[in-house]
Assembly symmetry: C2
Homo-oligomer: 197 residues x 2
DNA sequence: GATATTTCTTGACAAATGTCAAGCGGTTTT
DNA sequence: AAAACCGCTTGACATTTGTCAAGAAATATC
């Protein structure tokens, strides 16, 4: 339990900063989470399954991806401190169109959809927090769209450098390429053209 | 006032379906809106200004766009029944990176950011509704991202046909091209290749 | 209804990116 | 230590898309 509070503290701090949580809410919220340590390569969600959990990524790296033909397209990369779901699947409790995989050993805190609904029921004021958090993730996604619309690989990579580079220190370039929606070869050439910044 | 209720009725119906609004909340919410009839070509928001309003598009077509060099990139197209904001700017009340323009004569209902905050203050239960609505717009955006990651113009156009075509009946193809992140010429050739479906 | 303006299409060409294949270098495995 | 594996780079080439330009078609304006 003590461990749980420590692992969840960044999440709780963020929520309390938005608007202080009552003691009861904070306790209930904390209790519903289950801590899991998962190994690199573990699947958190398989495509076509319903995303029944939300995870707080206390430590590590995750990616979501889907297959097109024989290729894997990485749709998102998630870092320590992120709240992780497959949005369409979690919100509507319908089958996911993507899988979620651990890119490193991770520590995650898992909260089920059903438990979250119970929290909403008992503590309707929690909707305020999740509204704000959803808004934040929403416009981050908007920025990502902005990047993908950039004309060429150089523009995308420069935008990436200015806005995401810090997060990608430990990530294989092949996933970065997929994140930028370009081939690994194009990324490699772009980097050498720009002098490996 | 009667007009206002009629114009807002699809929005109110949607919200009431999520969870019935109290009479007071529904009245306050309705009262804060201002109806505006705007002509094709009117700007609702200019880049670099703060998006201080949310609009319910009761009738018509809007687009948001930003300039890259001497070109306009259409980022979104919004249809009758949509809630319209510039997300990053509205949520954080910071300057917008996009402009919003009427593609046709429109009827919009305008609600200011400040009035919305007052509603949240007086009626915290309204956070439930906006949480759900934000979630919905969030995963719609996710699907849009999915489309933009498709390999080539044919795949994008086919995905568009299956998922968006109904909405785009009255929209010049040049805006559709921008929506798909391809040039108008490529869209034209793609359509003729596929037999103008 | 004639004219002007805008949008769409088509062609020719250039540029960017993807694909396939080979090889390099580091890490892990046995 | 050798072998196997994985990610990265580089080259050659094919494919796709963008760009520029011209004309056709559609729409708006007077």
């Amino acid at each position: 339990m003590q461990d749980k509070i420590i692992l969840l503290s960044p999440l709780l701090a963020m929520l309390n900063k938005l608007q202080p949580l009552s003691k009861n809410l904070e306790d209930t919220f904390t209790n519903k989470f289950e801590i899991e340590e998962i190994k690199k390569g573990t699947m958190l969600l398989y495509e076509k399954n319903v995303c029944k959990n939300l995870w707080f990524l206390a430590n590590g790296l995750l990616r979501s991806y889907h297959n097109i033909g024989d290729k894997e397209i990485t749709s998102r990369i998630m870092f320590t401190g992120h709240i992780v779901i497959s949005p369409g699947s979690f919100f509507t409790q319908t089958p996911a169109t993507e899988s979620i995989e651990a890119l490193s050993d991770c520590v995650v805190a898992r909260l089920s959809f059903d438990d979250l609904q119970e929290i909403y029921k008992k503590y309707p004021e929690f909707n305020y927090h999740t509204r704000i958090v959803t808004e934040q993730y929403f416009y981050k996604q908007e920025q990502r769209l902005y990047m993908l619309r950039k004309h060429d690989a150089v523009a995308k990579y420069n935008y990436f450098l200015e806005n995401y580079a810090d997060y990608f220190k430990d990530i294989p370039l092949m996933y970065l390429a997929s994140f930028l929606n370009i081939s690994p070869e194009t990324l490699s050439r772009t980097r050498s053209k720009l002098g490996k910044k």
